[in-house]
Symmetry: C2
Subunit: 405 residues, 2 copies
């Protein structure tokens, strides 16, 4: 939509439909009065817009509880079965897929393991096609398939879905977005919007919209897998930087005398708190060893495992204090294996964050994800809904071909 200056009536109508639908998608059942208050539109305009969304079956009105005393009021609710997306989280050793309905309901979720170090972009695309077929076969009748979202642990040009670098997958300059689009089109003859994003950015987006970040404007999601990534939301917007490479918090040097990182620098935060560091320090090398195993060993009395966890806790706290001083966020969310470690190292983390400047540290909460292990996956679903939520009419009326089953 290219408009400069005055918008047409139709632009305004589409914009308002999009605002209402996004609110319903993110917040769930909402009374008409709340929609009036939220949107600043008058009651009759809201009525017309809700009817229009109901006509194409994206929302329905029914009795719901607004948490108030008295008779239940009529609530506008998103129809989970009306529009669906397929979300993928590509990790170093597994791919996770989810079928997610409007409103964020996870209708189906499954995981598939693959071998580390041999998962090429082409293999990933084959998996994506096959998993898409599997989950679409279970999709609700008449659901419109409106998007595909893919999470990659790497640096992604989110405008076209090109993976510039995913070091722990060994991918360099892979046009994943185009490969997925072409393959889905070849398989299904239709293909809705396909978006590819960095895993930590997606974790941040999901926790901001639906998790521990609700109500905050500034949030950092620290993804802990083999590498350490950062998704940074500043005043409600994902920080991209000049070329989309911002947020590489794993390569913040915190220990110049430390271990040499894959990136060539010494003492990157990732070399001190990444998954491999935990396993290495605990003396439990091997591809199949997980942080869960280190925690189990510590709980079984292994002193070395316990010391490894505590050492990681110190470095975790030092890096978090840096993030507090640099970004002054309301919330820092620790994902991946850091989510599992936090309860065991909260004392060290608190002690180290206490070295951050008082004003900033008093405003920050360090949290585990409300969406547990699925922040990134659900973030991919959120971005897959973006096309629909930006202009529901365009997706529904102009692209009837994007409807599955």
């Amino acid at each position: 939509m290219v408009t400069r200056g005055a918008a047409t009536q139709d632009d305004v109508r589409r914009h308002n439909l999009a605002r209402l639908l996004r609110h319903l998608h993110e917040r769930g059942a909402t009374s008409r009065s709340e929609l009036v208050a939220f949107s600043g539109l008058n009651r009759s305009t809201v009525g017309v817009l809700v009817s229009e969304l109901a006509e194409i079956n994206l929302v329905f009105e029914g009795a719901g509880s607004a948490g108030q005393v008295g008779r239940p009021s009529l609530m506008v609710q998103p129809v989970a079965e009306s529009a669906i997306v397929v979300a993928f989280e590509i990790r170093v050793e597994r791919t996770i897929v989810a079928l997610v309905g409007l409103g964020g309901a996870v209708l189906l979720r499954k995981e598939q393991r693959h071998r580390r170090n041999s998962y090429t972009p082409e293999a990933a695309v084959r998996n994506i096609v096959s998993l898409t077929a599997q989950v679409l076969a279970k999709a609700p009748d008449r659901a419109a398939w409106v998007g595909v979202g893919v999470s990659v642990p790497g640096i992604v040009d989110h405008t076209d879905g090109r993976v510039m670098l995913a070091p722990n997958l060994g991918w360099v300059d892979a046009p994943l977005g185009d490969l997925v689009r072409d393959a889905l089109m070849a398989e299904f003859d239709v293909c809705p919007s396909v978006v590819v994003n960095n895993d930590a950015d997606l974790g941040a987006i999901a926790e901001y919209a639906r998790g521990v970040g609700i109500g905050a404007r500034n949030l950092i999601y620290v993804s802990g897998e083999v590498g350490i990534g950062g998704g940074i939301i500043i005043d409600g917007r994902v920080m991209m930087g000049a070329g989309g490479y911002g947020g590489e918090i794993g390569h913040m040097v915190v220990n110049p005398d430390g271990v040499t990182c894959r990136c060539g620098a010494r003492g990157c935060w990732e070399t001190e708190i990444g998954r491999d560091a935990v396993v290495r320090e605990a003396g439990l090398g091997g591809e199949q060893v997980e942080v869960e195993d280190v925690i189990a060993a510590a709980e079984a009395g292994s002193r070395r495992a316990e010391e490894a966890i505590q050492a990681v806790g110190e470095w975790l706290g030092i890096g978090l204090a840096n993030l507090v001083n640099l970004f002054n966020p309301e919330v820092i969310v620790l994902g991946g294996h850091l989510r599992l470690l936090l309860p065991r190292v909260s004392a060290q983390v608190a002690r180290r964050i206490h070295f951050a400047l008082p004003a900033a540290r008093e405003q920050v909460r360090v949290e585990v994800p409300a969406l547990r292990g699925d922040s990134t996956l659900l973030g991919a679903a959120e971005t897959a809904f973006d096309a629909l939520l930006s202009d529901p009419i365009a997706v529904f009326e102009d692209s009837p071909h994007a409807v599955a089953s």
Copy 2:
């Protein structure tokens, strides 16, 4: 201006006047055709708006060179003498004042030294009043005094000008904005808008608008005085964080085994590259010793001074690599004493930045300020013009009392 939904015709006119005036203020002489292209408005609307600005004497049209071959075209130009601001930069050991005209012309500039550790907010306010009287006495006839901007090396609530903490001045929770407003009102019976901001944020704003950041969207200004501050512009907006405390890059821990910082942590970037660190490492202690003296000593053959400079260069590079990985900016500007050091340590800086991730480091330039030592001062002037540039009609027609001489 509280409007929700449709704007009135008058809102639109004021908004467009503000856009044109800001463009002329930041870019200088501009042809009508360029204003048409920049604004997206049609030629006749631009004509009406330019006439309106010319009527209140903020701009004039005259022959100018657009850098093209052929006859000189008519250029719209800001009138420097029509509207003026008074800008202050409060440093640890001196206060700098400038009288700045519309378009950014510095009409007058002077410095006044004060004793470190005994400069209270009240003493600063007395100085501000007295310096304001001195520079306004030299202001052009009929110039409208439209703002006062103050830079403070500390954490500022920019909404009301309260200085939360300025550690190197020893200020805690000082309502500087209110104190300045009250004192100016008592002295002059009138007082235009008064804005107080963090020094590094102002350096960033000035270099972004008028310096090495022109054309960039992401810029970091590193202020080097006694402390190290950061002004961070992300996608065109100053990063504030939850409470305005973001950008405290001086307290990023880079050397956990290093010197204890005033903040209580060890190895903050500030303890490795701050002005006191340079002087200390060079073995030239004392309040009056400046980084210039260390450089002079190195040039005179002092090995210790040279080694101090080189050591600072290494730490400077380590921290800059972190900023590149975290923020992926197009430009990092080194202000204060770092501006003086950069030419002598550019090799170390380049070598350390080479450890940043390739994609991000290839996009960054590390620069000295185009505005030399006055980025912060001129940033204060920019923010002082904000009220005028946001709504010239309101300031000029509704507040005729804010006119000096």
